[in-house]
């Protein structure tokens, strides 16, 4: 047991840190650190820089661009990216569609899609949830009817994150509605979002931000060559993907950065003749989150270590990281809002002349926005069901 970085790992960390310092544009970093919206170009621009460097998909096989890093190196890389305020690498292509293609795709599909995912040529999004389905994924209704060498897709997806940026969408669709088990008769399709018949409609969330969408499919023709794995085997693909989807949701490095931010804000906030950071009431809440996060980082590393040894895709362990990681994220955004005191109230300037503090206002927005963290990617209730069944055998 040795939790210290080896000299090689330290050197690697320094290399990553230096490269990020030299490569991350100032304006992008500022947007990230101040919770401002990132455009499609912001996201893809950073993606392409990483791709050029060869670091955009560390865990892919080397022949497709993977880096062959150890678990620890990957952890160091993510930590450095989050700490420095890099934009996220949008997960839907690199972390979700690609592992599926690598596992289930035909050689042609790999050849066609993986390099474009790697290079950031396409913005991928996810078409999983449907209205009324929510966490009950298998109840999906979007139909895909085979018509010659095409599928004709009709239906609706919901909660499609960044769907308005999407070039391509991977979807679960029902190709056979006659099967008794709802998990059967589902297929996994890749769909070009420029196809006629696709409409994207924004869903405005309570922070008034636009990040999720409804996506409507009206007789959309999709080449049968875009079917991944066999027809009717979509549930196998979906299950494989779920672990990967949840993999990043713990966001421990991000929480570490934000925890520093809370402390900075609290240290600047005067209360009762001292600062909020000196107030035991506030301070203890920070401490408990900090301690929980220290533990979760080790839990995460322990699990990664086990995965590495077992050489298997992530299972129920990631549910635990998702649960506790999102609880921590929410606790941090809540404390951030609390630092604002009465200034948590103003949210959007009405008068153009207002001396409006957009940063402070963004804190309340973040608090509201992060309520999604325990809902999306399988609600924390679903994660508890998964652990109860898969880990505890209940």
């Amino acid at each position: 047991m040795d939790l210290n970085y080896s000299p090689g790992e330290v050197a690697f960390r320094d290399e990553v840190r230096t490269w990020i310092r030299e490569s991350l544009p100032e304006d992008i970093r500022d947007k990230v650190l101040n919770y401002r919206e990132l455009t499609k170009e912001d996201l893809l621009g950073w993606h392409r820089r990483l791709a050029t460097k060869g670091w955009v998909a560390p865990f892919w096989p080397v022949e497709w661009g993977g880096t062959n890093w150890t678990v620890v190196q990957r952890y160091i890389f993510e930590e450095e990216c989050e700490t420095a305020g890099c934009p996220p690498i949008v997960a839907f292509g690199v972390r979700m569609c690609a592992p599926v293609l690598l596992r289930f795709g035909t050689p042609e599909q790999k050849q066609r899609f993986l390099p474009r995912i790697y290079d950031g040529d396409d913005f991928w999004v996810q078409g999983y949830s449907e209205p009324g389905a929510g966490s009950d994924l298998a109840s999906l209704k979007t139909r895909a009817v085979r018509d010659g060498d095409h599928y004709v897709v009709t239906g609706q997806k919901i909660w499609t994150t960044l769907g308005h940026y999407g070039d391509w969408i991977f979807c679960l669709v029902r190709t056979d509605a006659t099967r008794e088990k709802r998990q059967e008769g589902i297929s996994f399709l890749l769909i070009d979002m420029k196809s006629p018949g696709i409409t994207v409609r924004p869903i405005v969330l309570m922070d008034q931000g636009h990040e999720v969408n409804e996506v409507f499919f009206d007789d959309v023709r999709v080449p049968a060559a875009n079917l991944v794995h066999e027809e009717g085997k979509g549930w196998t693909v979906a299950k494989y993907l779920l672990g990967y989807e949840r993999m990043g949701t713990g966001r421990i490095a991000l929480s570490k950065r934000e925890l520093v931010r809370v402390k900075t804000l609290a240290a600047r906030t005067r209360v009762n003749g001292g600062t909020l950071l000196d107030d035991p009431r506030f301070r203890d809440r920070i401490t408990r989150v900090e301690v929980e996060l220290m533990a979760l980082e080790i839990t995460n590393l322990r699990f990664l270590d086990q995965l590495r040894r077992g050489d298997r895709p992530p299972g129920a362990e990631v549910s635990m990281l998702k649960i506790r990681g999102t609880e921590i994220q929410q606790a941090i955004t809540e404390m951030m809002m609390q630092t604002a005191g009465p200034f948590a109230h103003p949210y959007r300037a009405v008068d153009a002349t207002a001396a409006f503090d957009t940063f402070t206002a963004s804190l309340t927005g973040r608090y509201m926005n992060l309520r999604k963290a325990t809902i999306y990617a399988g609600s924390n209730e679903i994660q508890r069901n998964i652990i109860a069944k898969a880990t505890l055998g209940l």
Partner: protein, 377 residues
């Protein structure tokens, strides 16, 4: 001891609720929020018409002479409907200064118009860096000629943009956080040197920054005794705190009802999600939070009328602690149990979440009142 609402209180409640059910449904509210003013003059007139603006004021000015429990009836209804009009700012804050500390002339000049819906008010007090310290006032009032000149900046003034008359706290004496030396002034919204910029609050209530730059007022603009403003402010803010506690009870009731309804109607895995025991137990905890919130708000409404300042501070802080905790618990759970839909603009529950979040922060968060409660005896 008696826990029933009086016949009058029931009538008041029904009148308001009947109006809000039709005149203030979710769509109507959305239009009001999106309007340039951010509130509706028609609704305001209707509230005046129903006598809702008159509840706490004396009959000599056309008021109803109601108790704080009467106000609880009103606030609960407004909270359930998420009314964004400046009721608290006018009736619970601005008007209170006049009613409690104003001269007869001030009362005669202002209260009848307020009750009739002609005059809206606001309380311009909070300053940058003050957080919840009511004694933190750096705005200065200097004696000038027959009156005073005011200079300073006030922040997060609830409905400051809608007000015709502002009650402004300013220092006539003492250092920035001294208890003595704070004086209250009545300043018309259109006074020269006064600028107001508005923001929309998280909860769609409007808040304003008020800058005073050489604003001159006469001696007759002083409310109460010169330099003795703080106890008055504390009394009014405690009163307003209890009112938002009552408002929170209404909002929590809505969150409870909507979530329960959602659990009964929303189906997953072939059954209503309300059949899942884990969610049932959490729904029970929401119910308990609601009942406990109602109890503490009731207690505070009754006790605040008792006239005992020490007891008042203790009970108001107790209420605010419990309400802040309940507001947080219920709002977070309601959104969680609604899932993604609870996150959207489209459902009233997300708006209820926002209002409850702000009420929890308003007039001192739980931490502030925990400290005040601990110091109370």
């Amino acid at each position: 001891m008696d826990f029933e609402y009086s016949e009058e209180q029931r009538l008041l409640s029904e009148t308001i609720r009947r109006f809000l059910a039709t005149g203030y449904n979710f769509d109507a509210r959305a239009k009001i929020v999106a309007s340039p003013a951010g509130h509706s003059d028609d609704v305001w007139a209707a509230l005046a018409e129903m006598g809702v603006l008159s509840v706490p004021f004396g009959s000599e000015h056309g008021g109803f002479g109601g108790t704080t429990i009467d106000m609880m009836v009103v606030m609960e209804a407004l909270g359930e409907a998420l009314v964004v009009e400046p009721y608290l700012a006018t009736v619970g804050l601005g008007g209170q200064f006049i009613a409690r500390a104003g001269t007869k002339a001030q009362q005669d000049a202002i209260l009848p118009g307020l009750i009739q819906g002609k005059t809206k008010m606001a309380f311009a007090h909070t300053e940058r860096g003050a957080r919840y310290d009511l004694a933190h006032v750096t705005t200065r009032a200097r004696a000038a000629g027959d009156g005073f000149t005011l200079d300073g900046e006030k922040c997060v003034v609830l409905h400051g943009g809608a007000a015709d008359l502002l009650v402004v706290s300013a220092r006539t004496d003492g250092g920035d956080t001294d208890a003595r030396g704070i004086t209250l002034f009545l300043v018309p919204r259109n006074a020269r040197g006064l600028t107001v910029t508005q923001a929309r609050g998280v909860d769609a209530h409007r808040v304003a920054e008020v800058r005073l730059s050489g604003v001159t007022v006469g001696r007759d603009a002083v409310i109460g005794a010169e330099g003795q403003g703080l106890p008055v402010i504390e009394g009014v803010v405690d009163y307003a705190t209890v009112l938002v506690c009552a408002e929170a009870v209404g909002a929590i009731k809505y969150a409870h009802d909507a979530t329960l309804d959602y659990l009964k109607t929303r189906r997953q895995f072939g059954v209503p999600i309300g059949t899942f025991q884990a969610l049932q137990h959490r729904m029970v905890d929401i119910l308990i939070s609601y009942e406990q919130a109602r109890s503490i708000a009731t207690l505070a409404c009754v006790k605040i009328d008792s006239g005992d300042d020490v007891e008042r501070r203790r009970i108001v802080s107790a209420a605010k602690i419990k309400i802040a905790d309940a507001a947080r618990h219920v709002s977070q759970e309601a959104v969680q149990l609604h899932g993604g839909m609870g996150m959207t603009e489209e459902l009233k529950i997300s708006h209820t979440f926002r209002r409850l979040t702000m009420i929890a922060q308003m007039f001192g968060d739980a931490d502030h009142h925990l400290a005040r409660f601990a110091a109370s005896k």
